[in-house]
């Protein structure tokens, strides 16, 4: 506390600035959280209760809402499973193969290396939407329409993940280690799998989380590819609520379904938040 006077600058005293900072921070924290609070409250209330006005305290219909959602026409449980399959597979494929690509660029000095590195950097920013049209035609021709495979396989080529991992390897992976492995007679592929991957684990886990969340939240492509209700992922089913027809005017179901798709990610996030927030800034320093 004594440092206050030391660190005090001309102009506004530190104590005042600190108070203002806390007020603003608390304001924005509330602004971030209040929606989820209302969501939580309303998912415990029945449609009839909600028409009567908002209350600050939860009611007792959480289970009822959940039961009517489960028994409704939207296959929410299937959606959950589909979303988990797609997101987990995507996260694993993306990080594994991006690490492999990054390792190739980082470790080997082959002809055209810089050109390839430049190329990947150049395509990094191109959004998936601009190739969506051709992509849809392609998967139609492959007979993969209305299937989750085209949501998973393309994740192998992910320039953004590659870029992050390459930056990480540049500063954290001594090439001497690879040489040492070679002298020990380890094959290149084995070196990568058993020595390199464990070494870059921190970076991999951060990217895994991002890939998982990105895929979990993805809406544009799944909405164009998936048609059968039982194959749809959560975002597509949520969007369906918005276009819901006259049978589904039970807001209790709407709120509980939103809650069901949001809160798992929030829980995962709260558990892993240290790594995630750290990961964002790490990427920033390098990028």
């Amino acid at each position: 506390m004594n440092n206050d006077t030391q660190a005090r600058t001309h102009g506004v005293p530190v104590g005042v600035r600190r108070t203002i900072a806390y007020i603003v921070l608390i304001f924005f924290s509330v602004l971030c959280l209040i929606w989820f609070y209302i969501l939580l409250i309303n998912s415990t209330r029945s449609h009839a209760e909600m028409t009567r006005g908002f209350t600050l305290l939860p009611s007792t219909n959480l289970v009822n809402n959940w039961i009517s959602l489960i028994n409704g026409t939207i296959p929410i449980a299937r959606g959950f499973i589909n979303s988990i399959i797609v997101s987990v597979c995507t996260a694993v494929l993306t990080t594994y193969f991006s690490a492999m690509t990054a390792y190739a660029i980082n470790t080997y000095r082959f002809k055209g290396r810089t050109a390839i590195a430049t190329f990947i950097l150049a395509i990094m920013m191109i959004p998936g939407q601009v190739t969506a049209l051709g992509f849809l035609q392609l998967i139609n021709r492959m007979g993969l329409d209305d299937s989750i495979i085209p949501l998973i396989i393309p994740a192998i080529a992910s320039p953004v993940t590659y870029f992050y991992l390459k930056q990480y390897m540049e500063s954290n992976l001594p090439l001497s280690l690879v040489e040492a492995a070679r002298i020990d007679g380890s094959g290149e592929f084995r070196t990568f799998n058993t020595i390199i991957l464990p070494l870059i684990k921190p970076a991999i886990s951060v990217q895994m989380i991002f890939a998982f969340v990105g895929s979990w939240n993805n809406y544009f492509t799944p909405a164009l590819i998936l048609h059968t209700d039982t194959k749809k992922t959560l975002p597509v089913l949520i969007a369906q609520l918005r276009g819901a027809d006259w049978l589904r005017f039970d807001m209790g179901q709407v709120y509980i379904m939103i809650a069901a798709s949001i809160f798992p990610v929030i829980v995962i996030y709260l558990i892993l938040s240290k790594y995630i927030v750290g990961g964002v800034s790490a990427g920033a320093v390098k990028g």
């Binding site: 009839a48 048609h227 276009g243 006259w246 049978l247 005017f249």
Partner: protein
């Protein structure tokens, strides 16, 4: 011209149902040979009415013996599913999206209607039909009047006569329900269990309070034309009620009374009556007599409860039974607080037709479903008694219209069927085009913005309508 011819046809139907039967048989000459064979079982079921349930289960199983074991039904909501569940003999519910008829699994492919999503999905399914495995093929799909032509005038739908439905089976159906699904060669490509004449459904309690009576005749006097409608709306406003929930409620009434079809050749045309809807609605909304939200929204359904303070909705029988929250405690429908009257103008709304998809491996079962649900007077009567739907069977409807023991609980014991029967006779769907659903949606979107004051003039909104329409249908012109 076309409309007049149809009108004439309709009036003929009114005189004698038999004539229609002859007419249909004549136009479907090639099928007439099948008639005697197919007629007998249909007559049987009708005769053995008490035992209908048990007797019908047998044919259902028979029919599917050498057919596919999966029946795929494409629909945009649950209405037909609940009809089939409640009234098709032998249908068992497995879960939310599957059922069973005998040893055949019934798969419901339900895609909501919004933004043409249902049509887009159905297009994909039908176009992929040839390459699909037998169990993945669509066997039966539902269409609405707004776009029925798009499907019936193609080879993707089967003629019902080829499936085994005879003119005699369909003799009691309202003629217009057949016109909607008759293709350009005069072949009937679908069939419906319901008719959809619309009425004005008003809140008895509010009527009593504001107009001093809740009797349909008295209320009708206050709403017999659009001028009186506005006057009464003002009175309701003074008492704190909205005359209708939203401006969208009257759209169908004006649109049905339009002279022009939406599209002539490839040119989009906007009828004067639609412009009148816009102007009248703007006046209503500006005066605060009603809201401007869309139908099927949370706000729209508020009026189904007393707190919503809405005097009336416009709708057909299926709206009363299916949408007004009659099972929810505290709703007006639950307490039988509604009543029905004709309102300012006659109209119709919706209606669902069953079509058989070309390539189906369950033709026999599809035909049986069509026959039982849309031709069997016993089952259809049962639908009226249990669900208060208006069924596509003149004899049944007229019988019940004159049956004092029939009453609609949602409507507080009123028997509205005479009104519906009269309305059904006047339905004229000659103006339908394949583009109606998309175009009337876009028109309402653009005009809704004008009514809300987001466009300064009607012409600006019209411009926006054309923009949206041409985005949706590049083949059309303005």
């Amino acid at each position: 011209m076309k409309k007049k011819v149809l009108g004439l046809l309709l009036s003929t139907t009114m005189v004698a149902g038999m004539l229609t039967a002859c007419g249909s048989t004549a136009s479907n000459a090639p099928a007439s040979t099948e008639t005697p064979a197919a007629e007998t079982p249909a007559a049987d079921t009708a005769a053995e009415s008490p035992a209908a349930d048990t007797a019908a289960e047998a044919p259902a199983a028979d029919v599917s013996a050498d057919e596919g074991k999966v029946l795929n039904i494409s629909a945009w909501n649950e209405e037909f599913k609940s009809r089939l569940t409640d009234h098709y003999p032998g249908y068992e519910v497995v879960d939310g999206t599957t059922g069973k008829i005998g040893d055949v699994t019934v798969n419901w492919l339900i895609t909501p209607n919004e933004e043409n999503a249902y049509q887009n999905r159905l297009d994909e399914l039908l176009l992929a039909q040839d390459g699909a495995a037998a169990d993945d093929k669509v066997d039966l799909f539902l269409v609405e009047a707004d776009y029925a032509v798009k499907y019936t005038d193609t080879d993707y739908t089967l003629s019902v006569t080829d499936l085994g439905l005879t003119a005699n089976d369909m003799k009691d159906q309202y003629k217009y329900t057949q016109d909607v699904v008759t293709d350009s060669n005069g072949v009937i490509k679908g069939t419906s269990w319901q008719g959809c004449p619309g009425v004005m459904i008003y809140n008895r309690a509010i009527a009593e309070e504001v107009f001093g009576s809740q009797e349909p005749e008295d209320i009708q006097a206050h709403f017999s034309d659009w001028n009186k409608f506005v006057e009464s709306a003002a009175e309701l406003k003074k008492a704190g009620y909205n005359v209708i929930s939203s401006t969208a409620d009257t759209f169908r009434v004006y649109q049905n009374n339009a002279e022009l079809p939406w599209v002539n050749g490839t040119q989009i045309q906007v009828d004067d009556n639609l412009k009148k809807w816009v102007e009248d609605s703007k006046a209503l909304a500006d005066a605060g007599y009603c809201g401007t939200h869309g139908q099927w929204t949370d706000d729209w359904t508020k009026g189904f409860y007393p707190e919503g303070k809405v005097f009336a909705y416009f709708g057909p029988a299926w709206l009363i039974d299916f949408s007004m929250a009659k099972d929810v405690e505290g709703s007006i429908a639950h307490d039988g607080g509604w009543a029905a009257t004709e309102g300012p103008q006659g109209f119709y709304w919706g209606g669902t037709w069953i079509c058989a998809a070309a390539g189906t491996d369950n033709a026999g079962l599809v035909a049986d479903i069509m026959k039982k649900m849309t031709c069997d007077p016993e089952i259809m009567k049962d639908i009226v008694l249990k669900d208060n739907d208006f069924v596509n069977n003149r004899t049944v409807m007229e019988e019940l219209a004159n049956d004092p023991s029939y009453s609609n609980e949602v409507l507080g014991g009123q028997n509205p069927l005479k009104m519906f029967c009269a309305g059904a006779d006047n339905i004229d769907m000659a103006n339908l085009t394949a583009y109606d659903q998309g175009l009337l949606g876009d028109y309402q979107t653009a005009m809704g913005d004008y009514i809300n004051g987001n466009y300064a003039t009607y012409d600006e909104a019209l411009e926006q309508f054309y923009t949206l329409a041409l985005q949706r249908y590049p083949e059309l012109t303005r």
